[in-house]
């Protein structure tokens, strides 16, 4: 009897979930403009997704306080994709079936690609504040994609020019973390170095994230005689490698990307972080609007803005502004507005080019000085 009880309960549970599903699925479209926000909102990459969502909420509250757009209130629908491509398709389908007009997202390039195919078919515009893969705009396959962050090849170019022209170094080791972002960036860097003819790549390999020890790779770089390392990847690996190098007494210049241009890197690597170079979005803190956003964010959430908060804020503004300018939620009209009308954001006055990249958004080089990232002019 007991056994069959358990089984009955499983059956009932399955049926119940189906019923609740049916109810939740049959949402009625209210008269609002729906802004979907998608990205990693849980798990280990949540620290990239949540600040964007929080920034978007600020924009929406602001807009709604002023009476909304086209006479309608704006509503945020947020969905988690954990930065995984296969989950991102579910997330995207969910947003589409909930009738969003535009999507702010996704966070990771890998998850953005499959989601965009779905948005494209459903005639929905997506704008990312953090997906930097050059493919997204340069392949020309995603006419519905825009972003408020510059792409990785711009970053790689800056890193290479900095190493070859500013620092006048010749032998470069290129290292990456085998990930989508890191390896892509490393390959662009390698390509630029080889094309420039001013330097040579003496080492090109990937490290396994999370390995217990990186001494073998560090020793190998030392043997290669590299004067500088260009690293593509995120800060946990970067801090481990930098620490191990400096402890071994290596003075090799370390240049990295915006995955490393994060204060956590300095906190974790401590004194070993001094002198590390990293590219990051141009410092806009002199912009009064940027300052206002940072203050508001701190006031509302009790914490400092996250990595991509400002880009997320700008993206939400650009999207809502375009709907306003287009005068409707028509797909083509919004795209046209995004491409022609400038909008005032914390990143400066921006509009978008034909491929979807924001005009006037770029990268600068930063150096760690006295425990802080300082922009190099």
């Amino acid at each position: 009897m007991k056994k069959s009880h358990l089984k009955k309960m499983t059956v009932i549970a399955v049926i119940c979930t189906w019923i609740t599903l049916g109810i939740s699925g049959a949402g009625v479209a209210a008269d609002t403009i729906k802004l979907g926000v998608a990205g990693a909102l849980s798990g280990d990459l949540a620290s990239y997704g949540l600040p964007i969502l929080k920034a978007a909420k600020l924009v929406v509250n602001d807009v709604n306080a002023k009476g909304g757009i086209l006479g309608k209130k704006v509503e945020i629908i947020s969905e988690d994709d954990m930065c995984k491509p296969e989950i991102a398709t579910n997330t995207a389908t969910k947003l589409v079936s909930e009738g969003v007009t535009v999507v702010l997202g996704h966070v990771c390039s890998g998850a953005t690609k499959p989601a965009l195919d779905i948005y494209k078919d459903a005639h929905i515009i997506a704008m990312s504040a953090s997906a930097t893969s050059p493919d997204l705009t340069q392949s020309g396959k995603y006419p519905n994609f825009f972003r408020t962050i510059a792409s990785d090849d711009a970053q790689a170019k800056l890193e290479v020019n900095f190493a070859l022209d500013t620092l006048k170094l010749k032998k470069i080791a290129v290292l990456h973390d085998k990930g989508d972002y890191g390896k892509g960036l490393a390959e662009y860097a390698k390509g630029f170095i080889e094309k420039s003819g001013k330097g040579e790549v003496v080492f090109f390999e990937g490290v396994t994230p999370g390995a217990v020890d990186y001494s073998a790779v560090v020793n190998k770089i030392k043997r290669s005689g590299a004067q500088a390392i260009i690293f593509g990847g995120y800060h946990p690996e970067a801090s481990k490698i930098v620490t191990q190098m400096r402890k071994d007494g290596m003075k090799t210049v370390f240049i990295s990307d915006d995955g490393v241009k994060d204060d956590t890197f300095i906190k974790v690597a401590g004194k070993y972080a001094e002198g590390v170079y990293a590219t990051g979005p141009k410092d806009t803190s002199s912009n009064p609007m940027d300052k206002a956003v940072r203050e508001e964010y701190k006031k509302v959430y009790g914490e400092d803005v996250g990595v991509f908060s400002i880009n997320g804020y700008a993206a939400a503004q650009a999207l809502l502004n375009a709907i306003q300018k287009a005068g409707s939620t028509n797909y083509d009209a919004i795209i046209k507005a995004l491409r022609t009308d400038y909008v005032e954001t914390p990143l400066g006055k921006i509009k978008f080019d034909d491929r979807g990249d924001a005009v006037g958004v770029g990268f600068s080089m930063y150096e760690v000085k006295n425990g802080k990232y300082v922009e190099l002019k």
């Binding site: 001494s215 073998a216 620490t243 956590t264 974790v268």
Partner: protein, 300 residues
């Protein structure tokens, strides 16, 4: 030559860490034939406990060596307690279940513990304080052997020795060997099998905690996911050496650590894991019981 030595030492360090975790796998497997997937998480919890205790003590302004001792002790106590509890919750009720059920329970436990630490603490990487003091006499050799590395090697050596003595010469060691050979028979001659299993989990977890603290202070940062990657590698090492065999786990760990180090140094770090797993497959094809595993005779 210096390059070779550097790689060799790097391999030994990796091997020592793998060994401390692999011993837990192999001991548990020897006794109840279970791949304890949650073992990597015990190691992670050890590292986290040490980090928390050390930070609290540092704020209170305790001496560095005292911090090291207390943090290590706390890590050992808590890891053992977690190991003990995990066994009671997830494995003990399954003693007589089909063979694969405890394995799935272990995978579930591993997911649970990871997320428990993620939620209660943070998903970010936390900097781990360097608890091990700098020895001045090592400075000339810093590229080959650093203080933390020396401590790791010494500790691993001492721990192995103690463990061997425990298993060979104490009463509980005898009981463990008896249970590993034949659980029913051990029960018949008056061995408290449940207690032996608990003690095995406690010892294995304590070893993992030592490994956790050492590697965390060597590499300088931890997050909730470190247990998974180290766990898979240590498990591979245990099988490589012959799962169930204590010296086998140690040998397997060093073989694996050195292979990875040399593969990175002389070939490419892109394929270091491929080399590690390919080695495993090759060794098992030619020695299906692992390097030091018992050549199991099939019982009919």
């Amino acid at each position: 030559m210096e390059y070779f030595l550097e790689l060799f030492m790097g391999g030994l360090i990796r091997g020592s860490i793998y060994a401390l975790i692999a011993l837990g796998y192999t001991m548990v497997y020897g006794i109840i034939e279970l791949i304890n997937f949650a073992h990597g998480e015990i190691y992670m919890i050890g590292a986290f406990t040490a980090l928390i205790v050390a930070s609290v003590l540092a704020v209170m302004g305790v001496h560095q060596l005292a911090i090291l001792a207390i943090a290590m002790l706390a890590a050992i106590v808590y890891s053992s307690a977690y190991g003990f509890t995990v066994e009671k919750i997830a494995y003990k009720p399954l003693r007589h279940a089909p063979r694969l059920s405890p394995l799935i329970s272990a995978i579930g436990m591993s997911i649970f513990l990871q997320n428990y630490v993620l939620l209660a603490q943070t998903s970010d990487f936390l900097p781990f304080p360097s608890l091990i003091p700098d020895f001045k006499f090592l400075e000339p050799y810093s590229s080959i052997l650093r203080p933390t590395e020396l401590v790791i090697l010494l500790t691993t050596g001492v721990v192995m020795l103690l463990l061997t003595l425990l298993i060979k010469f104490t009463k509980i060691g005898k009981a463990m060997r008896a249970t590993a050979q034949d659980r029913t028979m051990a029960l018949l001659v008056g061995v408290n099998v449940n207690q032996v299993i608990s003690i095995t989990f406690v010892i294995g977890s304590a070893l993992a905690a030592i490994g956790g603290v050492l590697i965390a202070s060597h590499i300088g940062q931890i997050n909730f996911f470190i247990g998974f990657i180290a766990g898979i590698k240590a498990f591979t090492a245990a099988v490589l050496g012959g799962i169930g065999s204590v010296p086998g786990a140690v040998l397997g760990s060093f073989v694996l650590g050195l292979t990875e180090s040399f593969a990175t140094g002389y070939v490419s770090s892109d394929y270091e894991d491929v080399f590690a797993f390919a080695l495993l497959v090759l060794i098992l094809i030619f020695r299906p019981g692992g390097l030091l595993g018992k050549s199991s005779t099939q019982k009919v």
